[in-house]
Subunit: 340 residues, 2 copies
DNA sequence: CTGAAAGCGCTAACAA
DNA sequence: TTGTTAGCGCTTTCAG
């Protein structure tokens, strides 16, 4: 795995010194012209700029980071890079951090604490200036490592009374409760949850169930499916639910794709939605609005989560005091469409 | 944007020297114990290991990379991180590189040459040991920069007679031609293409059209939609096609999601698929097999592309000669299901 | 098998 | 406004 490889003999890349010589200034002046242009008179700045272009100079950010103790890198650890749920957040992180001169370094933890630990070790080795995590359930090791290294940390997409540092998210329990009430308000009584194997989805399901009990409804049927949630899982789940003796008239799915599967199977079996069964998804992906029937779902402002997380990291790096960057609850909303 | 921030005063992270002192050896021995364990006797190795754990030492990879001229980082530039089409490739890259001790650094170019240029500059600053690109259409600036820096480069998901360096992909023209013949073989004659705004999709569409002409069929109708392709776009496209005077009996969509939209609209309008219209997608996403009717689509082994690309980068870094790492055509297959 | 010296490329800190 | 010096943390190189 870590063989003693030959030292690479690629041609040495141009350095500040090359640029400095060509521009007839010192290395330090080149550095300043690039990083703090306002501290260098326009004439010198232009000479440096010309030399940079002539030599195709690209600063070595490893060296910059090592010397200045700022890597200009922020790491984000996401359960699944492919998941459309987080892509708005990743976009917003990239954009907001980019505008402030930071690069986003993406890692995928794969929904498990074990993967997260290993990934975190690798990530910390690159000395990012801050870390954004999706979720609040981390191993003790992860929490200690992060709390110990004094780096700005934002946990996202969830809430907790005991964040590692900063927090931007919403209450999954509230989502589960709200959706249950939403379905109950329409007179649905025999409820079910189709849920992917993911801690946050599980908490939504749990609160959904607790609320049903609280409302005096029969205990909802729970169908668990593997991650990632697919259209096929949704179809299968509905088939399973239809075999249930008590029957079902309202289903909360832990993703829009699962819900689309439920809609697909319902159409295939000529089961009326929303007539006989109400279906609610989660995520408000683009497909939700255009499904047939249009999918009622839970909308979360993923872009805002990304933006706020980025601003918090940047603020903390710039030295903002902790209290200004308290936890933020971005909330959620139920988008009522045709399906439920 | 680049303000003179205060030097971060986080507590100094532990360094090799701290570990060395604790283990009673020199810094060099610590380094060797970690990077070339076989060159250090077990006894010393264990003492070092113990000291590493006691101090929570995490090597500074910026310093490692700077000194050794190996960042152990490979960059991948993808048009859209959220796109499910590339997620298998990204997974395989991560896994294959990870097994060889490399980290993947992901960047999103956003389907445009302009974005790619800027991103590339940022990426090169981090001094990756290799670069994986999706696509073969790059600006002259990008090509020169990459060719000039002597870094291993793999272009993927396409073929070209003039690669920058290495190449792992398949022919989009062949895909377009094959799908056209596939539909024609079933007696479909009034064909159409629904295509996202993306160069590779455009080439598939072009070859599809050329093949139709070659087969003596009427010129296919082309519907272009914005990226990213959504279910809604697919529905809209079918509505548009149904208004076409000549009628349509076979549709090639540039993504499975678009195709699902076509299926959805067809079901809504009670248009028989495959009876009246045949539908073919692209990508063989999980949803394809479970759509109703099951979606005929083009399967590409994205995981293999990622694996082979990673192996080529690793091989080149390890000093393998260029000829061994020639271009690879991974091909594709049409997966016939119910829809067309 | 182990260590000492040197320096990767850059910028903080200070001096002029 | 500009330059000089030193050193970030590590590993290459060479000597023991």
């Amino acid at each position: 795995m870590t063989q003693p490889l030959p030292t690479p003999d690629r041609q040495r890349a141009t350095t500040v010194l090359d640029v400095a010589r060509l521009a007839g200034v010192s290395a330090m002046t080149v550095s300043r012209a690039l990083n703090q242009p306002q501290r260098v008179p326009p004439a010198t700045r232009q000479r440096v700029q010309a030399a940079v272009e002539a030599t195709h100079y690209v600063p070595n950010l490893l060296a910059c980071g090592l010397r200045s103790r700022r890597s200009r890198l922020v790491a984000a650890i996401v359960p699944a890079l492919g998941s459309p749920v987080f892509s708005e957040t990743v976009q917003a992180l990239t954009a907001t951090l980019g505008a402030a001169g930071y690069h986003l370094m993406l890692g995928q933890s794969g929904y498990g604490a074990a993967g997260e630990d290993a990934l975190l070790q690798a990530v910390i080795g690159r000395r990012p200036d801050g870390i954004v995590l999706v979720g609040v359930d981390h191993s003790r090791q992860t929490r200690e490592r992060l709390a110990g290294c004094g780096m700005p940390v934002v946990e996202t997409w969830d809430l907790t009374p005991t964040p590692i540092d900063m927090l931007v998210g919403f209450s999954h329990a509230d989502v589960g409760a709200a959706v249950c009430r939403f379905l109950a308000d329409q007179g649905r009584r025999r409820l079910a949850v189709v849920s992917g194997a993911d801690g946050r989805a599980a908490r939504r399901a749990q609160a959904f169930t607790a609320t049903a009990e609280h409302l005096g409804l029969p205990a909802p049927v729970l169908v668990e499916v593997d991650a990632p949630t697919t259209l096929g899982h949704g179809r299968q789940a509905l088939r399973q639910l239809l075999g249930h003796p008590a029957g079902v008239d309202g289903i909360f799915c832990s993703s829009d794709m699962l819900a689309l599967g439920v809609l697909t199977e319902a159409a295939h079996q000529r089961i009326a939605v929303p007539g006989r069964i109400g279906v609610v998804g989660f995520g408000d992906q683009p497909l939700a609005a255009d499904a047939e029937p249009a999918l009622t779902t839970v909308r979360v402002d993923g872009a805002r989560i990304g933006r706020e997380a980025a601003l918090r990291v940047i603020g903390r790096i710039a030295g903002a005091p902790a209290p200004e960057l308290a936890a933020l609850d971005v909330g959620f909303s139920i988008v009522p469409r045709r399906s439920g």
